[in-house]
Symmetry: C2
Subunit: 151 residues, 2 copies
DNA sequence: AATAAATCCTACCACCAAGGTAGGAATATG
DNA sequence: CATATTCCTACCTTGGTGGTAGGATTTATT
């Protein structure tokens, strides 16, 4: 499993906020209730999103969270990258400039690098807006054999 | 991390055998030594490959393993699927016909399904032969800006 | 027949990330 | 002042990862 509940719930929170983005702040308890998720656990996840600049927050009564930007300006890759730390499918992919010592002669490395590239390319193309509008053709590509024709 | 050492080492073993495929049997200790991996650990991994029909084995002195088919007839997806169990990037992807109960109304599911499809499409296109010939253009795609022109 | 070299089989184990839970401090509203 | 909220720190359980250990079985060589 490449993406844990942390990343998945983070995306769920972002989508929830994007759907209700009328400019007001939404409380965490509202989100947790709507999505049927533990509020305490969401707390630790939304904290990452907030510190990462993905959200704006307001403390105190009637406080809550809202998106910092337009839904179309978030790509899925940055959301998952922030919460998961990495999206690399294997741990032999170079990270922070550090690569495997056998990299120069490893014959399987190009495969993993290619896989990593394919994943990141896909996730950085899809936006939050695509998700809330249900852009199936963009998300499912040629796997989508019964998409609406206008997407 | 989607692919653990189990799957990675399994691929390394398959590539090692493919490179030396002159029809003879190769002992596990030879492979372990060449690849600098624990022989005991490889034992448990190669056992999965063997039982899954990927290899042929010969017991006793001068015994060992060899590929059951031509390197071009193995795609990477089947090798990793056998050893990892699943390649799904999240655990909410339908497996063995069982899907999440919220699937019908989940707005993030198409994203995960699309990601799963993209990953499987990539891995099932690449063959063992591609790896041993170093087919960088096929593995790295448009990320490969300095591939040999004949590939 | 003995020995060595190999696969095969079962059991065990340490570590760490995942997936939370708990409790309280700080802050804002009415 | 009471209430609702974010914010912060600490803790905990469980299962998978990444192995290790020891022996039984099979085959080739001498």
């Amino acid at each position: 499993m490449m993406v844990s509940t942390k990343g998945r719930y983070a995306l769920t929170v972002m989508v929830d906020l994007a759907k209700l983005s009328d400019g007001g702040f939404v409380s965490l308890s509202d989100i947790a209730e709507r999505e049927h998720l533990s509020m305490k656990y969401l707390e630790s996840i939304i904290s990452i999103l907030n510190k990462g600049g993905m959200l704006q927050s307001l403390r105190g009564k009637n406080g809550g969270y809202r998106l910092a930007r337009d839904p179309a300006d978030y790509n899925i890759s940055e959301i998952l990258l922030l919460t998961e730390g990495t999206l690399a499918p294997v741990n032999c992919i170079m990270q922070d400039g550090v690569q495997c010592e056998k990299a120069a002669t490893c014959s399987t490395l190009p495969l993993w690098a290619g896989l990593d590239y394919v994943i990141d390319k896909y996730l950085s193309t899809i936006t939050l807006q695509d998700i809330i509008t249900g852009n199936r053709k963009k998300m499912l590509g040629d796997y989508c054999d019964h998409c609406d024709s206008d997407q």
